[in-house]
C-alpha cells in the first residue's frame, strides 16, 4: 500500500488536472505518462514517414548503377539521416518512449511514472533533436553515415555534422532520463500484489533496456562530444595528423551502438511477449527464461561491440574474442524465439492484425538472427563487412523485427490508447503488403553483399542492377503499404467502433481500466488476482 501512496501523492495532489485532456494538451508540457506516450508515438511515426521518404529517394537512385537522380553528396546526407532518424527518432522513441511510457505504469498498476516532470522533459528534449536533424539539411546534411567515423566526419559538412552531433546528444540525454525513470518506476511502484515474477514481460524488457541505455549512452555522448570539439574547437582527439586515434572513436561509438541495437529490439521482444499469449490464448511459455534472457542479452551485449570493427585496426585476439562473445549472444536470443513458438503450440490462434504482425516478426527475425551469426564470425565478416549483406541483416532484424513489433503493438493497444477499434480487413491488407515488401526489398540484398556490392554507395557496378531493381520495387511496395495503415489509424481514431475496456479479453492490468484510461488510470488501484498470462487456467492455480 505504501508504494501506491507514493504515486497518489506525486500526481494526484501536486498536479491538478481537468477530467479529460483536450487535443491541445497534447502539444504542451504535460506530465501524464499517457499523454507523453502518445506524444512520443505520434512524433516518432511522423519521423518514420520522413525517414521512409528518404529511403525511397535512395532506392530510386539505386535503380540505376550510375549516380543520376540526386547529387552523390546529397545521397550521403540521405543515407546518414535515414539511419539516424529511423534509430534515434523512430524506433527508440517509439518503442521505449511511446509504448514504454504509455504501458509501464498501466501494467504495474501505478498512476504515473515516478518522476512525471522529468518524463515530460525527456520527451521535449527529443524535439530539438528532430529540429536539428531537419535543420541540418539547410547546411547540406551530415554526410558521414550514422556511424560518423572520423576523419570523414571531421572534414565533411562541418555545420551539419555539428548539428547532427547535438541532435544525437539530445536524443541520448532523453533516453538516459527516460531510463532512470523507468528503472525507479518499475522497481518502486508496482502494485503491492505484484512480485517481480508476476510482472508483465514487457516491463522486464523495458527494465533491461533501461539498464542498458544507462550504461552505454554516456559513452556515445562522450565520443560525440570529443568529435564536436575536434570539429569546432581545434582539438585533435581523432585527428590522425596530430596524433589522434580514429579507431578509438570506433570503440567509443560501438560500445554504445551495439547495445543500441538491443535498445531497439528488447522493447519489441516485450511487445511480442504480450501480444502472442493474448491472441494465442495460451500462457507465455517459459516466463522466467524470457525475463532473464533479456538481462543476459544486456550483459553479454555490452561485450560484443568489436564485431562491427573486424576489418578495422583491431588486433587478432580482439577479433577472436569478440567472435566468440557475439556467437554467445545468439543463445539467449534463440531462447526467446523458441519460447514464442512454443507459446503458439497448442493455442487457439486468433488471426488479428496484431497477431499477424507478431508472427511475421517471428518468421523474419529468425532469418536476421541467423545472418547475424554468420556476421559474428570474423572470417566471414571480413568478406561481408560494410556490404549489402549487413544492410540485409539489420533490416531483417530492424524492419522485420522492430517495425513489425511496433505495428503489432499499435494494433494491439490502439483500442486502449484511443478507445476505438481499428479496422481489421485494412489491417490485414497492411500486413500482407508490408510482409511482401520487406522480403522483396531486403532478401535480395544478401546476395548483393555476398557477390561484392559495398553499402553506402550512390553508384555501383552495373552487374548488380538486376537485383537492385528488385529491391527498389520492394521498397515502393513498402511505401505503398503505409497507406492502408494511415487511413485506418486516422479514420478509426475518430470513427472506429468504440472499444470496451478489454476488447481482447487479456489479463494484464492495463486492460482493467477504461479505454482510453481515465487520467489517473484507475479510481481504485487494481489488485492482481491472477498471473498476467493465466490463459486456460483457473485463477487459483496461479496465486499458489
Amino acid at each position: 500500500m505504501a508504494q501506491a501512496n507514493i504515486t497518489g501523492e506525486m500526481i494526484g495532489n501536486s498536479f491538478p488536472h481537468p477530467d479529460k485532456w483536450k487535443w491541445y494538451h497534447y502539444f504542451t508540457f504535460n506530465v501524464d505518462h499517457k499523454v507523453i506516450g502518445i506524444q512520443y508515438l505520434v512524433s516518432a511515426f511522423f519521423f518514420y514517414l520522413v525517414g521512409g521518404a528518404m529511403a525511397l529517394v535512395m532506392r530510386a537512385e539505386l535503380a540505376t548503377p550510375s549516380s543520376d537522380l540526386v547529387d552523390p553528396n546529397f545521397y550521403n546526407a540521405l543515407l546518414t539521416n535515414h539511419g539516424t532518424i529511423m534509430i534515434f527518432l523512430w524506433i527508440v522513441p517509439g518503442a521505449i518512449g511511446g509504448f514504454g511510457n504509455y504501458l509501464v505504469p498501466l501494467m504495474i498498476g501505478a498512476r504515473d511514472m515516478a518522476f512525471p516532470k522529468l518524463n515530460a522533459l525527456a520527451f521535449w528534449i527529443t524535439v530539438p533533436a528532430g529540429l536539428l536533424i531537419v535543420g541540418s539539411f539547410f547546411f547540406g546534411g551530415a554526410q558521414s553515415g550514422w556511424t560518423s567515423y572520423p576523419p570523414l566526419s571531421l572534414i565533411t559538412a562541418n555545420t551539419a555534422q555539428s548539428m547532427w552531433i547535438l541532435a544525437i546528444v539530445c536524443a541520448g540525454t532523453s533516453s538516459i532520463l527516460g531510463a532512470l525513470n523507468f528503472i525507479i518506476t518499475i522497481w518502486k511502484m508496482r502494485v503491492p500484489s505484484m512480485g517481480w515474477n508476476d510482472m508483465p514481460l514487457f516491463c522486464w524488457a523495458i527494465l533491461a533496456t533501461s539498464l542498458l541505455a544507462l550504461f552505454s549512452t554516456p559513452v556515445l555522448a562522450a565520443g560525440l562530444v570529443l568529435l564536436l570539439f575536434d570539429i569546432n574547437f581545434g582539438t585533435s582527439f581523432f585527428r590522425p595528423e596530430n596524433g589522434g586515434d580514429v579507431v578509438m572513436y570506433q570503440h567509443l561509438f560501438w560500445f554504445y551502438s551495439h547495445p543500441a541495437v538491443y535498445l531497439m529490439i528488447l522493447p519489441i521482444f516485450g511487445i511480442m511477449s504480450e501480444v502472442i499469449p493474448v491472441h494465442a490464448r495460451k500462457p507465455i511459455f517459459g516466463y522466467k527464461a524470457i525475463a532473464y534472457s533479456s538481462l543476459t542479452i544486456c550483459i553479454i551485449g555490452l561485450f560484443v561491440w568489436v564485431h562491427h570493427m573486424f576489418t578495422s585496426g583491431t588486433p587478432p585476439w580482439m577479433r577472436m574474442f569478440f567472435t566468440v562473445s557475439t556467437l554467445i549472444v545468439a543463445v539467449p536470443t534463440g531462447v526467446k524465439i523458441f519460447s514464442w513458438v512454443a507459446t503458439l503450440w497448442g493455442g487457439k490462434i486468433r488471426y488479428t492484425s496484431a497477431m499477424l504482425f507478431a508472427i511475421g516478426l517471428l518468421a523474419m527475425f529468425v532469418f536476421g538472427g541467423l545472418s547475424g551469426v554468420t556476421l559474428g564470425t570474423a572470417p566471414v565478416d571480413i568478406h561481408v563487412h560494410d556490404t549489402y549483406y549487413v544492410v540485409a541483416h539489420f533490416h531483417y532484424v530492424l524492419f522485420g523485427g522492430s517495425v513489425f513489433g511496433i505495428y503489432a503493438g499499435l494494433y494491439h493497444w490502439f483500442p486502449k490508447i484511443t478507445g476505438r477499434m481499428l479496422n481489421e480487413p485494412l489491417g490485414k491488407v497492411h500486413f500482407i503488403l508490408t510482409f511482401i515488401g520487406t522480403n522483396l526489398t531486403f532478401l535480395p540484398m544478401h546476395e548483393l553483399g555476398l557477390k561484392g556490392m559495398p553499402r553506402r554507395v550512390a553508384m555501383y557496378d552495373p552487374q548488380f542492377q538486376y537485383i537492385n531493381i528488385i529491391c527498389t520495387i520492394g521498397a515502393f511496395v513498402l511505401g505503398l503499404s503505409i497507406l492502408p495503415f494511415l487511413i485506418n489509424a486516422i479514420w478509426s481514431w475518430s470513427n472506429g467502433p468504440k472499444a470496451s475496456g478489454n476488447p481482447w479479453n487479456a489479463k494484464t492490468l492495463e486492460w482493467t481500466t477504461d479505454s482510453p484510461p481515465i487520467i489517473e488510470n484507475w479510481d481504485v488501484l487494481p489488485v492482481m488476482t491472477e498471473g498476467p498470462y493465466a490463459y486456460g487456467e483457473e485463477p487459483a492455480e496461479v496465486s499458489s
Binding site: 494465442a280 545468439a330 571480413i382 559495398p454 550512390a458
Partner: protein, 326 residues
C-alpha cells in the same frame, strides 16, 4: 495420417531437413568466384554455417507454419488453449543445442582465422635464410623488400598476415597500397612502379601494406574474400595468395565521401611470365617518368575530372592487353 507413427514422421522430417540443408549449403552460388587461398577457407566455413542455418530455419519456420495451421482458432470456439507455461527439459534442450552449435562455430572460426593468417599481421622476416631458400623456388623472390623497415616493426600492424606455414617468412611480393579520395595507388617498393591497378602473379605470396592519405577506406577484393580498412595513422596489411589468373574488382568498402561508390579499380592476377613482362615494361616506364598519370594530386581535380579517367586504368590497360594477347 493416423496410421503413420510419430517417430516415423520425425525421422522423415529429420532426413529431409538434413538433405535439403546440405544441398543448400554446398550448392548455393551466392558467393563470387574463388580466387585466393583464403577464399576456399572462408567459403567452406560460410557454407557449413549455411547448412546449420538452413536446418534451423526450416525447423523453426516449419514449426511456425504448422502451429499457424494446426492451432488456429476454429469458428465458434471461444475457449483458451492449453495451459502449458513451460517445460524445463525442453527449455534446457533448446538452450543447450544452440550453445553447443555456437561453441563449435567459435572453435571453427579460430581455426579458419588462423589458417587465413589472421594471427600473424605485422609478422616480419627475421631469418633471411628462409627467404633466400624460398626465393630460389619462386622466380619472384627478388621482388621482396630487401630491407625491413625497422620503424614499421615497432608499431602494431593490423590485418591478415602470413598463413601458419609461412609464419616468419617474407612474402614473395610486397606492394604498398594507399587509399585516397577516391582512388587506390599501388606502389611497388622494389621497382618504384606506381600504378592505379594492382598487378600480382598467380600463386605468389603477396603482402599489401595498406595506408590511407585522408579518410578511412577499405580495401576489398570480393573474389579473395579479403578486406582490410586503410586507416590514417595506422598500418594495416593483407597477405594473400591469388590462385586464379584473371581480373577482379578492388572495391572500397568504407564510406569515404561522395564518390565512395566510384572508388573501384582492379586487381590483375597474371601468370608468372606475364607478370615479369609487365614488371619489365613498367620498370622501363618508371625510369622515363611516364607513371605520373596516377601521381596527380586528386585534390586538384574536380569531381568530374576525377571520374573521367576512372576505369581507363591510368594508362596501363594497353600494356596489359598486349601481354594478354601474346
Amino acid at each position: 495420417m493416423k496410421q503413420i507413427p510419430a517417430p516415423l514422421w520425425t525421422l522423415t522430417i529429420g532426413v529431409i531437413v538434413t538433405l535439403v540443408s546440405l544441398w543448400v549449403g554446398f550448392n548455393n552460388d551466392w558467393l563470387p568466384e574463388q580466387a585466393s587461398a583464403q577464399s576456399v577457407l572462408v567459403d567452406n566455413f560460410f557454407n557449413v554455417m549455411v547448412v546449420i542455418g538452413t536446418a534451423l530455419f526450416l525447423v523453426v519456420e516449419g514449426t511456425i507454419v504448422y502451429c499457424m495451421v494446426q492451432f488456429r482458432r476454429r469458428k465458434g470456439d471461444d475457449t483458451d488453449g492449453l495451459a502449458i507455461d513451460g517445460n524445463l527439459p525442453l527449455e534446457a534442450f533448446w538452450t543447450a543445442i544452440p550453445a553447443v552449435i555456437v561453441i563449435g562455430l567459435g572453435i571453427y572460426s579460430v581455426q579458419i582465422f588462423q589458417d587465413m593468417g589472421g594471427f600473424a599481421p605485422g609478422d616480419q622476416v627475421h631469418e633471411h635464410g628462409t627467404r633466400l631458400a624460398q626465393a630460389s623456388t619462386a622466380p619472384l623472390g627478388d621482388l621482396t623488400a630487401a630491407e625491413v623497415d625497422e620503424a614499421l616493426l615497432a608499431q602494431s600492424v593490423y590485418g591478415i598476415g602470413a598463413p601458419l606455414d609461412k609464419e616468419g617468412q617474407a612474402a614473395d611480393l610486397e606492394v604498398n597500397v594507399a587509399g585516397m579520395q577516391y582512388a587506390w595507388i599501388f606502389t611497388y617498393p622494389n621497382s618504384g612502379i606506381v600504378d592505379g591497378e594492382l598487378h600480382v602473379p598467380v600463386n605468389a605470396d603477396v603482402k599489401l601494406n595498406i595506408s590511407a592519405n585522408d579518410v578511412i577506406h577499405s580495401f576489398w577484393v570480393p573474389q579473395f574474400r579479403l578486406k582490410q580498412d586503410a586507416i590514417p595513422g595506422k598500418e594495416t596489411e593483407l597477405r594473400f595468395v591469388a590462385t586464379k589468373p584473371g581480373t577482379y574488382p578492388v572495391v572500397c568498402a568504407e564510406l569515404c565521401g561522395g564518390y565512395h561508390g566510384a572508388m573501384r579499380t582492379q586487381v590483375i592476377v597474371h601468370s608468372p611470365s606475364e607478370f615479369n613482362n609487365w614488371l619489365e615494361q613498367r620498370t622501363a616506364q618508371a625510369e622515363t617518368g611516364t607513371a605520373e598519370t596516377v601521381a596527380i594530386n586528386p585534390a586538384d581535380l574536380t569531381d568530374a575530372d576525377y571520374l573521367a579517367p576512372y576505369g581507363k586504368a591510368a594508362g596501363v590497360e594497353s600494356h596489359l592487353l598486349a601481354h594478354l594477347s601474346d
